[in-house]
């Protein structure tokens, strides 16, 4: 391996540390605000007080939030972390794009002093299992690196490290359970709200000329749908994201209708507008959520998008048209 080392000084391992500013940055990255994804300098880091040659070597991408969360998980442990250059993209996405790959890992390995990477006599690297869509394990083995399939979940790392056997986590499965869904709930809702602010603004503008339905309805109904959709995702019927959205919309509409009847504020106009708007928002959110879910099958999702996207667009346009007509009739 040393024959591939580029000329120049070999960078020494650096201590992995984060400040209070990184907590703020990580929070902003988590809620998906400001498009502010930052990258960490690639290279070899250590989490203890000094580099420990007996410490295992974990590999990760250089998305700031990824490395920050890994650092928090590894606090109090002596671990070496090889951060590879994934252009500031998380492990799963960058491996899907071919950036988290064997050649990039080897490039970073060759930048290091081999002695800094040796673990129990080998250059043994623990890879996140979700990187394997980009990493060809045989390519690493051919280069003299011993790859180990590590856990999928960050919170499984401490127990994995405690076991000390460094066996492949062959049976690890991405579950998309409630914990996973709650983690993406806030960013999903924030991002979807930004999209739904557009029809709300259009309605707000129209209402200045001809008052019709409240401008907040697309935004509020979108928010109202997205939270139960994410929480109830596995129990909503069918595997189609869009149909799950329609079901959530139906349940929400039934609850709203009951409330209107009790309040005696129900009008046919309001009902038709709300039904059309809710149905289209349910479809929109379902289709939007394909990118955040982690369990979307490309071919099936593509088929769904072709089928349901025109319906969702027509529904939203229809709801806005109803508002225009109602305002004009006044």
């Amino acid at each position: 391996m040393s024959s591939d080392c580029p000329p120049g000084p070999v960078p020494k391992p650096r201590k992995l540390t984060f400040s209070w500013w990184d907590y703020l940055l990580a929070f902003a990255e988590w809620i998906n605000a400001f498009g502010n994804a930052r990258a960490i300098d690639p290279g070899l880091y250590f989490t203890g007080s000094t580099p420990d040659p007996s410490a295992p070597v974990l590999v990760t991408g250089n998305y700031h939030l990824t490395v920050f969360l890994l650092w928090r998980t590894l606090r109090g442990r002596n671990v070496r972390v090889l951060v590879i250059d994934t252009l500031g993209i998380n492990v799963w996405c960058s491996s899907g794009k071919g950036r988290f790959c064997a050649s990039e890992i080897l490039r970073q390995v060759h930048r290091c002093d081999p002695a800094d990477l040796i673990h129990e006599g080998h250059v043994r690297l623990v890879l996140p299992k979700l990187s394997l869509s980009g990493v060809k394990l045989s390519e690493l083995r051919a280069a003299g690196v011993q790859p180990v399939i590590g856990p999928i979940y960050r919170h499984d790392l401490p127990r994995y490290l405690d076991e000390g056997t460094f066996r492949d986590r062959r049976d690890d499965k991405y579950r998309f359970d409630l914990r996973d869904r709650l983690f993406i709930l806030v960013p999903s809702v924030v991002q979807f709200s930004l999209y739904m602010a557009v029809p709300s603004l259009l309605l707000w503008g129209w209402n200045h000329l001809y008052p019709s339905f409240p401008a907040w309805t697309p935004l509020a109904y979108g928010l109202g749908l997205s939270i139960p959709y994410i929480v109830l995702f596995p129990v909503l019927p069918t595997r189609q994201f869009a149909v799950k959205g329609l079901v959530t919309a139906g349940i929400s509409l039934a609850a709203l209708s009951g409330w209107w009847l009790l309040q005696h504020t129900w009008t046919p106009w309001t009902f038709v507008y709300t039904a059309v708007l809710m149905a289209s928002l349910g479809l929109w959110f379902g289709l939007y959520f394909t990118g955040n879910s982690g369990v979307s099958n490309y071919s099936l999702v593509k088929r769904e998008i072709v089928r349901w996207l025109p319906v969702a667009a027509l529904g939203l346009a229809g709801a806005l048209l109803l508002a225009v007509v109602k305002g004009g009739l006044r």
Binding site: G35, A37, A39, L87, G88, I89, N90, C93, S94, S95, G96, K97, G98, R99, C101, S103, E104, R107, K129, L130, L132, S133, G134, V135, K136, L137, S138, I149, I152, D168, R170, D172, K173, Y174, R239, L287, Y288, T290, G291, G294, V295, S296, N297, Y298, S299, L300, V301, K302, I305, V306, L309
Partner: protein, 96 residues
């Protein structure tokens, strides 16, 4: 789609070990697709199969990516989701 060439499959099981969704299993010393809807079509099995026996229609199962890459065709494969666009786009340089 995911297809397995039974003639080429040696039953080594690597595809099963690298899969994060338990999509594949071994039957009569050959890999078979057990749960296709659970498949993410990430391509880990195809990439790591030593016998080149697996073919996957690899792609990003995301509205924005499919809209931009497959329907409107305004973004090259792997860059349509917007993930990482602030870094100047995705380069596959050296990664194959």
């Amino acid at each position: 789609m995911i297809t397995i060439d039974r003639g080429r499959c040696t039953g080594c099981g690597v595809c099963i070990h690298v899969c994060a969704r338990e999509v594949l299993s071994l039957e009569a010393r050959h890999a078979v697709v057990r749960d296709y809807p659970a498949c993410l079509e990430c391509g880990a099995c195809q990439l790591n199969c030593p016998a080149d026996a697996i073919e996957v229609t690899k792609g990003t199962g995301c509205l924005l990516a499919i809209l931009r890459e497959d329907i409107l065709k305004i973004a090259p494969p792997g860059s349509g989701c917007g993930c990482g666009s602030s870094s100047g786009g995705i380069s596959k340089g050296g990664c194959g």
